[in-house]
Amino acid sequence: MTGLLKRFMSVLMLVLLALPVAAVQPDEVLDDPVLEERARELSKGLRCLVCRNESIDESNAGLARDLRLLVRERLVAGDSDDEVIDFVVDRYGEYVLLRPTADGANMLLWAAGPIMLLLAALTGFFYLRKRASAPAPAEAALNEEERQRLRELLDE
């Protein structure tokens, strides 16, 4: 029975967490279109903490709404974009950032692609250089089995 219960709980979690009805409500929208635009941009980079993989801009969860209102509050109070982000990160930790910062161990995350590209490019370059200067191959020698098969084919 615990299996059933677990399944039921997971369905319930889905109901609570992944409400698909979209996000920003009309009463949240700021009057100043420039501020609102900034608020939307910032919201897209902030994670809805109780959702699975959604930004607060997309999520309909109550907490996401609170965060959206918080972002707008800070913007109206005259914060810069960075200040707003810092404010939110101070409260909720860096888990809230969908775009991880590039400090400490995270440097590895951001550098991984370029480093790998460099390695791959070097490997590719040396491979191509070797291929370009390789002597033309002698006609591939046939082994005994293949020679036998060739004879059969020719005899037919």
Binding site: L4, R7, F8, S10, V11, L12, L14, V15, A18, L19, P20, V21, A22, A23, V24, Q25, P26, D27, V29, K44, G45, R47, R52, N53, E54, S55, E58, G93, E94, Y95, V96, L97, L98, R99, P100, G104, A105, N106, L109, W110, A112, G113, M116, L117, A120, A121, G124, Y127, L128, R129, R131, A132, A134, P135, A136, P137, A140, E156
Partner: protein
Amino acid sequence: MTAELGHFALILAFLVAVVQVVVPLIGAHRRWPGWMAMAEPAAMAQFMLTAFAFGALMWAFVTSDFSLRLVVLNSHSAKPMLYKISGTWGNHEGSMLLWVLIVTLFGAMAAWFGGGLPPSLKARVLAVQSAIAVAFFAFILFTSNPFIRLAVPPFDGQDLNPLLQDPGLAFHPPFLYLGYVGLSMAFSFAVAALIEGRVDAAWGRWVRPWTLAAWIFLTIGIALGSWWAYYELGWGGFWFWDPVENASFMPWLLAAALLHSAIVVEKREALKSWTILLAILAFGFSLIGTFIVRSGLLTSVHAFANDPERGVFILGILAFFTGGALTLYAARAQAMEAKGVFGMVSRESALVLNNILLAVSCFVVFFGTMWPMVAEMFFDRKLSVGAPFFNAAFTPFMVVLGLALPLGSVLPWKRGKVSRAAWSMRYAFGLAVAVTLLVWTMQTGRSALGPVGVFLGVWVTSGAIVDLWSRTGRKGSLGRLFRLPRADWGKAVAHSGLGVTIFAIAGLTAWEQEDIRVTQLGEPFEVGGFTLTLDKVERLAGPNYFATTGSVQLERDGRAIATLNPEKRDYPVARMPTTEAAIDYRIMRDVYVVLGDEQAGGGWTVRTYIKPFANWIWAGCLMMALGGALSLSDRRFRVAAGARKAPMGGVPAE
């Protein structure tokens, strides 16, 4: 009774699979023809038995047999028939059975079409394929048995997750699995070649159709999933960089790389060991995908079985097959020496660049997907890696790929000149620049993303057309154009499809318009040149849900275009609400309307989006798949497949 028969068939299939691993491998090693030939009927039998088991499970779903635990958990008697059928694979156990069914299907296909293969290679391929099946049969029978009965059957089931009750999603998993599992065939060929110690042009020709087929299915599967997200999730997003999406995207990238590098093996006998490695990795990533979806290790919107025990089992399978194959690779790869000689600038080097970009971009996606886990385990940092990271880290690779593609595609084999390739692309380049300038002047003060995407899209698409045209010779003629090999057409269609998708993604992202408001019934409002009026809102009852349906008049310049019916549904049994956006699909743009909540002060929340070129995203994907299919039907593969049936007496001279 049917369920027990299905269970029994599944156990039998497991035993057959075990035999099919052991006997042909020994036979191939000892050169005993009888033992090798055993693989063929075994592969067929395995497939038939698994198909029977799958049929039995489907029958239980169709007849709503609520004595089966799985049916109770995932079905309901009032559910429409289509979703009773798709419910068979809309859950963990059933989807694993579908997975293994496809493994055996590909095995049977290889036995059926593999007439031209040398007997020892064929025996080894089928044995390796069967080894994969053994692992998954064991997984199903020991951890995820779909045929478990309930002692006290309930009167009705708990219904399928309503999000899955949708035609787009009903067929999303089978296509995805055909893709994932299709890569097992490339894997089996790679491992068999390593055991055999021999990779030649013929091997490249045999492995490419399987990879191509897998890639086509993956393309369609991913496109279906993305299209579903677009119309179902309620804000018209089409790609979220969710771990599960990444899980399907990584094998797609590697399969794309593999089917390009297999061309080099086939035509030039180079890049052999790299192609083998890619084949192993591509299937490895399919297994990683399965692991990600089922382990619950990474949180995601659509993980369906959060059971660590199963996760560990799949991790074991992953470690065994990928680790084993890579060990074998390390031991044997030196034997695969390249033969072809080619210059630094040549079609071969262009394909090497293609492979570098695709493989490294796949690595970036993998690194980003795994990083939250790594950071938590080793650096004690709980962080997220979301869409903004992937957009920033992944997109540059696609930009370079798009820039290089038309040039690389016209470079000749062996040795070429960039200047000549560039000159032959002058019209494509001119067109791309002209369109981009036009777009640039039309959109003022917005992001550069739109123009860049437009340039790439036009450049890639027109480049593909120029490439195809240039194949008809110096002068070019229409008659010749239609007599070109299908592989040429496939290449052109698939490449233009990529261009169309790039164009559409950039266009949609850059020029989308959005409007959120509270509207009163009968009160018109304007969005991006369209006039919308919410006429009425009704409450209706569907087969297994209740709906709140709005009726929205869509007009432009006083002329009625369409009546849209956005809906909110509530599924009482599954206790889950969903939104059904109403979309007016047009070639140049979609109008996308979502009904929100009723407001306390009267009126309803309505969201409206104008989405330019949205359909082009999936049209481009379809073109890619179609291009793959054209290429798959090329004569040389049919000849390779049908070599056994070639006339014995030689072909008369024409």
